[in-house]
Every structure is written in C-alpha cells, then in structure tokens.
C-alpha cells in the first residue's frame, strides 16, 4: 500500500465500472457532489497504470535536529474491483532488512496486512484496525501512505485557488468515513489540470491542525501517470518532520497477483 503512496492522497483505482459522465449530468451540483466528482475524476486519471515499482528513502527529523533514514522498495498492483495490493520491502535500517509487508487495501473495510519477519522466518498478520499510528516512527501514518480509495472519505468542495508554479488547484475538504482514522478532516489541494495532489493539511480529532504534506517534483510516466519525487510531512504540534524521496519509478513491468501473496513475502 505504501507503494501506492505515490498515489498517496491521490486516489486509487476504484469502481472501474462506474460512469461519472452520468453524475456530471446532474443539473445543479452541490459542494459535496462536486468534491466527490473531482475525487472520482482524479481517481480515473490513474486507472490503468497496471503495476509500479519504486524506491523510497524516508528521512525522519526530530526537534533536536537529528535525522534518521529508512530505505524501502515498493511494488504496487492495480486493484480490479477492490483496492490495490502492495508489497514493501525494508532495506534499511540493517536490523529490519528483509522485512516485508503485504497490504490488500479495501474501501471502508479495514485493510489486510501481513509482515514477514526474516529473523523469525515467519509471516505474521498485523492484527489491528489501527491505521493511524506512525509508519516506522515517521510523521506518516498508514492511512496517509496507503491507497486512497475514493470511498474512504466524504467530500466537500471548498474553492479553487492558485497553488504555486502557475497551477490552479481544487481545494477539497475530506472527512474520513472509516471509524479508526486519526483525523477529523483533511484539506487537499489537487491541481485542476492533471489532478496532481499537491498538498494536504491534516486535522486531528480535536480539529486542530496537525500536519501538512507537500508533494513536489511531479513527473509524468507513460505519458499519463503523475508521481511526485518528493513528499514532505511537517508535524505542527511536535515540530518533527519526515520526507520521502521517490526514485526508479517503473510502470507495467508485468507483475501479477502471484507477486502479491504471503509466499511472495519471504522472497
């Protein structure tokens, strides 16, 4: 699922069969409908990417200025009829090298997750509904990195505004529709032309601003799919931050469901 982080807040594949042209016909669209429509349009932009592989360097920084690095490579398989599947392989730090995590993301249903622990040579199911905790001690939670299925949120269109680089953005408020989210809401900026997710502000359960995510260095792959090369998350409450540097994006390398099962974890 991390894999898809790419897509991160962007949107994942969802209901292929759904036709949004039908929805667009609605005579007067209210803010909720407009928000949902744009989310779906953004999601549709990414349909058909098939699979991706990428490398990620995660750099954590605490308030004392100390940093720490994790290196992860990620494979993602586009879901058909359900959420995406992903497999993350941890390369650094050394003592978790070879640890791999498999995620089947779903809509409102909790995602399924397994972790392969090389020291134990066993696959363990992550038996928890919690997706709101920090991922490897970083400022990213599972739910920030995981596949952003459209139905995980309720939407409310706020406004359109300039968002740097001469881009214009849709500003949409998203309210998590799943029970165990750590957020009360998110405000996301999506550029109007290519639906690239530029920025997200996260509000905690007491509705105070918690974190801001900025994505930069977007590149287009296969002439269609946009991915950021840098994502930076700042926690306003603790002063800690985490950056993700993405590299080696490859699309459609012919991965199949066999590369995303429990047996694939140990490889």
């Amino acid at each position: 699922m991390l894999f898809k982080q790419t897509l991160s807040f962007s949107l994942a594949v969802a209901f292929l069969g759904l036709s949004f042209t039908a929805q667009a016909k609605a005579p007067v669209e209210n803010a909720q409908q407009k928000g949902l429509r744009i989310a779906k349009e953004g999601d549709a932009k990414d349909i058909g990417f098939g699979d991706t592989t990428a490398n990620m360097i995660m750099t954590l920084k605490n308030r004392a200025g100390k940093t720490s690095r994790r290196v992860i490579s990620i494979k993602t398989l586009e879901g058909k009829g359900d959420g995406d599947k992903s497999l993350s392989l941890f390369n650094q730090p050394a003592d978790v090298k070879g640890t791999a995590m498999l995620t089947f993301s779903h809509g409102l249903k909790p995602d399924d997750q397994w972790l392969y622990l090389p020291a134990l040579k066993r696959v363990k199911r992550i038996n928890s509904r919690n997706k709101s905790g920090p991922f490897m001690g970083s400022e990213f939670a599972f739910e920030d990195l995981g596949s952003q299925e459209v139905e995980k949120y309720k939407y409310n269109y706020l406004r359109e505004e300039a968002c740097g680089q001469g881009w214009k953005c849709h500003v949409i408020e998203r309210t998590p529709a799943y029970k165990y989210s750590g957020y009360s809401k998110q405000i996301s900026w999506i550029d109007t032309k290519e639906y690239r997710p530029v920025k997200v502000m996260y509000y905690d359960r007491k509705n105070a601003l918690l974190k801001t995510l900025n994505a930069t260095g977007f590149k287009q792959y296969l002439g269609k799919y946009w991915r950021p090369s840098m994502m930076s998350m700042v926690n306003h409450q603790t002063g800690k931050s985490t950056t993700l540097q993405w590299s080696n994006y490859k699309f459609k390398s012919g991965l199949s469901a066999r590369d995303f099962n429990k047996n694939a974890l140990a490889r």
């Binding site: 720490s68 978790v96 090389p118 020291a119 001690g137 603790t238």
Partner: protein, 784 residues
C-alpha cells in the same frame, strides 16, 4: 543644599505635583508590556546544564507536559461496567483537550497478546458497559499485572484510576491560512485548564459517584498563576488596610493617611510601569514585590510625616513644618532607601531568575518610594488642608526612657543572655534541611496541592527522574546486550525503596517476545537477537493507533531510549541521594550507557543549594557596600565595624529560630539574608547616628548617649519595625510557599533586629566605648 531643596519643593509644589503626575503616567504606561509567565522553567537559568539536558530529552522524544486526571469511585471499585464505561467516555472526550498529543488510560491501553499465532494489538477493552464478570476479571488481571499500568494509570488496590493527557504547547500558532503567530504559553495553559475543568464538571455531573482530581505539570504551572491571583486578591487589600490603619493611628491625621496612600500607589505604578518598560516577566516571586514595596514606602512616609506633624503640633505652619521635616529627614531617608535598594539589588546574584527580577522590581519600587516621598509627599502635604491637635507625647517618651534605664541597669545580664541566645540560635542553623519540593510550594488552599496530595497517597508519585540511555550506533536499542544492561538498571531502580514505578521499553520487549511465542510465560524475557527485537518492535509499532506510539520512549534513530522513574514524595536531600546512588550504580555496572538523571524534580532538588551558594556572593557584596555606606554616614570605621553585629546577627538568629519552627529551607529563603540586610540596617543607622551625635558631638557619657538615642529614635524604630513586621506577616499568609516563607522569615529577622538594636547594641556600645571612640576622643575632650 538640603535647605534650598526644601524651600524649592514647598514653593513650587503645584509644578511638582503636575510633574509627578506626568512621571507616573509616563512610566505607568509601561504596564501595557507586562506579562505573567507561569512556566516552572523560569526558575532556572536558560543555560542551566540540567535544564538543557531536560529540554534535549523533550526534543529527542516528546514533551511530557501533562494533565493527570484521577477518578475515584465512591465504592472503591474500578473494575465495574459502569466505571470502565465512564473511563472510555472520558478518554474519548480527553482527546478534545487543546494541544493534546496523547491520551493514556485503561481503556485505550494497547494490550498485545497472541491470537492464533499472530500478535493482536488492541484497546484493553471496548464497550465497558456491556462487559460480563468473566471479562471484567480478565481485564482486571491483565491491568494489575502490567508494569506499564500499575502505579501509573491504575492503583495496586484497583480503587482509583487515571487518564493522562500529554500536551505539547506550541511556540507558534498556525491558522488555516498558514499565518504564523507567536504563542503566549500562559494563555495556552489557561486554555487547557479551562477545557480540563469543563471535562471534570461534565464527569461530576454525568457520573456523580466519581470524584475527580487534577494534577500534572500543566496544572502546576496554572497553580503558579492561581496562587498569585489568590494572593493579589486576598493579601493586597489586607496590606493596604493594615498600612492605612497604622499610619492613621500614628499620625492621627486624615490628610497624612491620604498622602501615604497616594505615595504608595504612585510608587507601585512607577515600579510596575518601569518593570514593563524593562521587559521583566512577572512571576509568582515577583508578585510578592507589591506588598514589599508598599510596606517599605510607608517607612519613608512615616519618617517625614511624623516630623511634619510634630513640628505643626509645636506651632509651626504647615509650610515651615515641612521645610524643617525635610531638612531633618532627607539624609536618613536617602541612606535607608539606598541601603534597602542595595540589599534587593544583591538578589541579582541569585541563580533563580525570578528572584533576580524580584530584587530589581523591589529596588526600583524602593527608589520610587524615596523619590515620591521627597517630592510628591511635601507638595501634596502643603496643598492639602490639614488640622492638627495639640497632643502630649511625653507618655510614650517616658516609656522609652524607662526602657533605656532598664537596658543600662541590666547591661551585663543582657550582654550575656542576648549574646548567649544568639550563639545558641546560630548553632541551630545547620539543623535546617534543604528542601525544594515544588508541590509544596502551594499550600492546601490551592486546589492543585490538595489534588496532588490525594494522587500521591492513592495512585502514583509526582516526582520523577528521567534517563535518556544513549547507545553508540543507530538501532542499538534492539541490541540484546544493551537491553540486558538497561534491564539490569531498571530492575535495580525498581528495588530502591524510594521508587514507585519504572517506565522502560524493556518491559515492552519482554511482553512482545512472549506474545510472539504464543504467550508462553517462559518467553517473558528479552528477545535473543538484535534482529528479532527490532522486527518485533516494527510489527508492534505498525499496530499502534494515533498518539499511542513509542516516540515518547524511543528516538527516531532507535539509538536511545527514555526511562522514567517515578518516586514517592521525597525531600530534596533524598532526591539528591537516590540520584547520586543511581549515578554510582551506572558508573560501576553500565559505564558505557551512563546517563544523567534529569527532570523538574531533580532541577528543583539542586536549586536550593545552588541558590544558597550564589547568594553568598550577593550577601557579601551587599554587606561590604552597606558597611561602607554606614562608615561614611557615621564618619567612623570603628562604628562601621561594630554595626556588623546588629546587621548580621538578626539573620543568623532568625535561621536558628527557623530551624525550630519549620526547619526546611530552599531557594526562596536563601535570598532573605541579603534582602533583609538592607532593611535591618535602617534601624542601626538611626540608632547609631543619634548615639554618636550625642557621644561625640555633644560629649555625653556612653550611658547618657544611649538614653538620648532611645528618646530620639526609639519610638520611630518601634513603629516602623512593627509596620514592617506586619507587612511581611501578611506576605507570610501567602498561598505560595516561596513568598510565605520569605515573608515569615523576613518578619522574624526584622523583629530580632529590633530586639538586638534595643537590647544588645546599647550594652555593646557601653562595653566597647573606649575602643570605639579612640580616634574621636580628642574632639570630645575639646568640646568639654
């Protein structure tokens, strides 16, 4: 020169009045810059090594500013569906606390266990109201066997339980538009406390069978502000009333009383206005200065006004009387103000910044009071209508005369008895014990103190020491050798009699190891390899929800870990003892991982001694300066040397008395000697200058000079001392111990100083007469 000043003041009284108003308005505008800082950290220098180490821990992990809410059910049973449901509800609501980053309670404790060969991590319970008795028993068993919970969130007897809210006070605030503004920490604390008290009110209404207690760092910080507000609203009016009554009784003059009131108000306004302009932060110790300034300002007014009234009673008109009073009083009032200000300024050597601020604010106030006493007071006095009745004052004079006779008659007995008493009391000084216990800074009128006492009696300690164990390489926190060493240390710590609870990540590792082996109790030990430990931890961390992560215990590089040791209520001495024992143990057993113990508890334990040492130099400087001024004022170094006795002995005796009535000293009392030096010296100046005038200039014999001194200044000394004692006794009723202790001890010093000046100084003057007047004998004989 003084005469022409006196003429000038009386002649241009209207212009002076206008000028004074302008001055007070100009300086008073600085009050707009005043702000109150209630953070306990202000008691420490910014470069204090322990404070820095502590802040570094907080920057590496997370802050541990917190609100601890404790809930006591009337039936003393925590594990009932009703209570557990209430805790669930309260936990959920506690997340709404402003600036909260974490909420810990029984209900959201992340219990891990082995389920079908997988590790399950989940809230300890959900839907408490629907729990059956088997489930209740199961939950109770887990909770009471979990080292992370017992003595922290649940009492051993399972009769009270807590919700701990961790907050992070932001340095800046960011609004929705991304605009950043600087945050006022005092306001943030007020906001948090308001929210927590709302929650408390909600709980007491919704669950009447629960009693709620509030403690934690945030509540303590708030208590600094609340104690000050309590003092301001209760003590200031009493002080004012006391002063007005005293002044009226002494002067029997309505206008004299009004004038004193105006001088006091102007002095306070100027002092606090300038405080604002200078950018000095207000804090609880600084807020004792209004009472101090008011009390000291009265002394100036009383000296000038009583002579003025006396002159008028003799038949002078109010202008002439004022000129005469100014002529007599200018020098003594100036000298006593200067010495008092020097005493306060010597607080600048204190190690605790709030006491430096207190010294500066009080010194400004004392000099402002002097300034207004010599300009505003005469101008006002000659402008206001005043009626004075003829009065016979011989009665009080007779009293002083008979006191003088009694002292002269019993001079030997007095020398022996007062001298002996002084020696005994001074010998008692070492019986005082250093103790700065910040919880005890507040007396029981302050809710924080009462609640905290309950919590430490029933659930957990509020004193702690933190250790940040640093390893060499990243990820070393999973190294079995490191973990074994840490466990050795925490096991040793847990065995110490002072220790209630040790929070350590090794407990998490042993539990995870057990979970990963199907909850087999044989595996309730540290994982065998580094990889296993690291990977268990990764799995566990992946399973934790928002806010309940391990970032408060393990740093981002997995290179260091925080151990928190909670202790019983201890004196500073005991805190220092366990700190140094732990130091020694680490040096002997785990030298590679040795860490310095830090926490507010440790910092407060050290501050008393540090402050005493730093105040030694301040006291010495004040003593030298004041003695020089005295030698100059008295025109004799011999008298100056002699004055050391009545100037120093009172503080020494007072600390002896303190050993008997209280016996605990801390940072507040360490400033008393320097501070009172400037005040007690006033009595000596007045007495010795009159004595010397009689002995040297008028050539009286020593005994007659003593009689003269008693009759001329005896009454004034008695009255001003009584007024000062009364003022500081009001301060002694403060709800804030740093202020009340300082007030009481200062009152004792001033009382003893009067005693020494009346009963010990005269016999000494007679006894050492020859030596004292060696240089001036010629002059005396010439006069004869």
């Amino acid at each position: 020169m003084i005469k022409s000043y006196a003429n000038f003041v009386v002649r241009y009284r209207w212009i002076i009045l206008v000028l004074m108003l302008l001055i007070v308005a100009g300086s008073g505008m600085g009050a707009k810059n005043l702000f109150f800082n209630n953070d306990y950290r202000i008691f420490f220098n910014k470069d204090d090594a322990r404070l820095k180490a502590f802040e570094n821990i907080q920057d590496t992990y997370t802050k541990n500013d917190n609100v601890l809410m404790v809930f006591a059910p009337k039936d003393g049973k925590v594990f009932t569906p009703k209570y557990l449901a209430a805790i669930e509800d309260i936990t959920e609501r506690a997340w709404q606390t402003p600036y909260s980053i974490r909420v810990d309670s029984l209900s959201n404790y992340q219990h891990s266990e082995s389920v079908e060969d997988d590790m399950s991590v989940a809230n300890l319970y959900e839907n408490g109201a629907s729990l059956g008795s088997d489930e209740l028993q199961r939950i109770k068993k887990i909770a009471l066997n979990e080292p992370l919970l017992v003595h922290r969130l649940i009492s051993e007897k399972a009769h009270v339980s807590a919700v701990n809210i961790t907050v992070e006070l932001p340095k800046t605030l960011t609004d929705e538009k991304g605009v950043v503004t600087k945050a006022d920490p005092t306001k943030l604390v007020t906001e948090i406390v308001a929210s927590v008290r709302d929650l408390k009110a909600y709980v007491e209404k919704t669950y009447p069978e629960l009693t709620v207690y509030l403690s934690g760092i945030v509540m303590m910080n708030n208590a600094f502000g609340e104690a000050t507000i309590y003092d301001m609203s209760h003590l200031l009016p009493i002080t004012l009333l006391l002063i007005l009554v005293t002044v009226f009784l002494l002067l029997r003059s309505v206008s004299g009383t009004i004038i004193t009131l105006v001088v006091i108000i102007f002095s306070l306004a100027t002092a606090f206005g300038l405080t604002g302009w200078l950018g000095i932060e207000l804090s609880s110790p600084v807020m004792s200065s209004p009472i101090i300034i008011m009390t000291l300002a009265v002394a100036d007014c009383v000296h000038i006004l009583s002579n003025w009234v006396a002159q008028m009673r003799k038949g002078s008109d109010k202008y002439e009387a004022m000129r005469e009073s100014l002529r007599i009083n200018f020098i003594p009032v100036f000298l006593t103000s200067i010495t008092t200000a020097i005493g306060f300024l010597s607080l600048n050597t204190s190690d605790a910044p709030p006491f430096r601020d207190l010294g500066n604010v009080a010194a400004i106030g004392v000099m402002a009071a002097f300034f207004f006493s010599i300009f505003l007071l005469p101008a006002l006095a000659t402008v206001l209508p005043s009626r004075v009745k003829q009065q016979d004052e011989t009665k009080t004079l007779k009293l002083m005369a008979s006191l003088a006779e009694w002292v002269i008659t019993h001079k030997k007995a007095l020398l022996v008895s007062i001298g002996g008493l002084a020696l005994v009391l001074i010998a008692l000084i070492p019986r005082n014990e250093l103790n700065d216990v910040f919880v005890k800074y507040f007396d029981k009128r302050i809710e924080f103190r009462a609640d905290t006492d309950f919590i430490s009696d029933n659930l957990t300690g509020i004193y702690n020491i933190e250790y940040s164990i640093e390893t060499k390489n990243s990820g070393d926190i999973a190294n079995p050798q490191v973990l074994a060493d840490i466990k050795k240390f925490t096991d040793w710590m847990s065995e110490q009699p002072e220790v209630i609870h040790v929070n350590t990540v090794t407990d998490t590792f042993t539990r995870l190891n057990k979970n990963m082996h199907g909850d087999d109790p044989n595996y309730h030990k540290l994982p065998e390899s580094r990889e296993l430990a690291a990977q268990y931890l990764l799995l566990y961390e992946m399973s934790l929800p928002f806010g309940l992560d391990l970032n408060n215990q393990i740093d981002i590089d997995k290179k260091s870990t925080r151990i928190t040791v909670t202790m019983k209520t201890l004196s500073s001495k005991e805190v220092l003892a366990i700190e140094s024992r732990a130091d020694q143990w680490m040096s002997d057993n785990i030298p590679e991982l040795k860490a310095v113990g830090v926490s507010p508890t440790v910092m407060f334990a050290h501050i008393g001694m540090k402050n005493i040492i730093s105040m030694l130099s301040g006291t010495t400087i004040a003593l030298v300066l004041i003695s020089l001024i005295l030698m100059f004022a008295l025109g004799s170094w011999r008298y100056g040397l002699l004055s050391l006795i009545p100037n120093l002995i009172p503080a020494g005796m007072a600390f002896g008395v303190w050993a008997i009535i209280d016996g605990e000293i801390g940072m507040a009392l360490s400033v008393v000697t320097a501070m009172t030096l400037g005040i007690v010296v006033d009595d000596t100046i007045h007495f010795l200058s009159k004595y010397r005038r009689a002995r040297v200039e008028q050539g009286m014999a020593a005994e007659d000079a003593v009689r003269y001194a008693f009759s001329t200044v005896g009454i004034a000394l008695l009255v001003t001392s009584v007024a000062l004692i009364a003022g500081f006794l009001v301060l002694a009723t403060s709800s804030f111990k740093l202020n009340s202790g300082m007030g009481l001890l200062t009152a004792i010093v001033i009382a003893i100083a009067l005693l020494v000046d009346f009963l010990l100084l005269p016999p000494l003057l007679i006894w050492w007469d020859k030596w004292l007047n060696k240089g001036s004998r010629l002059a005396v004989e010439q006069i004869k």
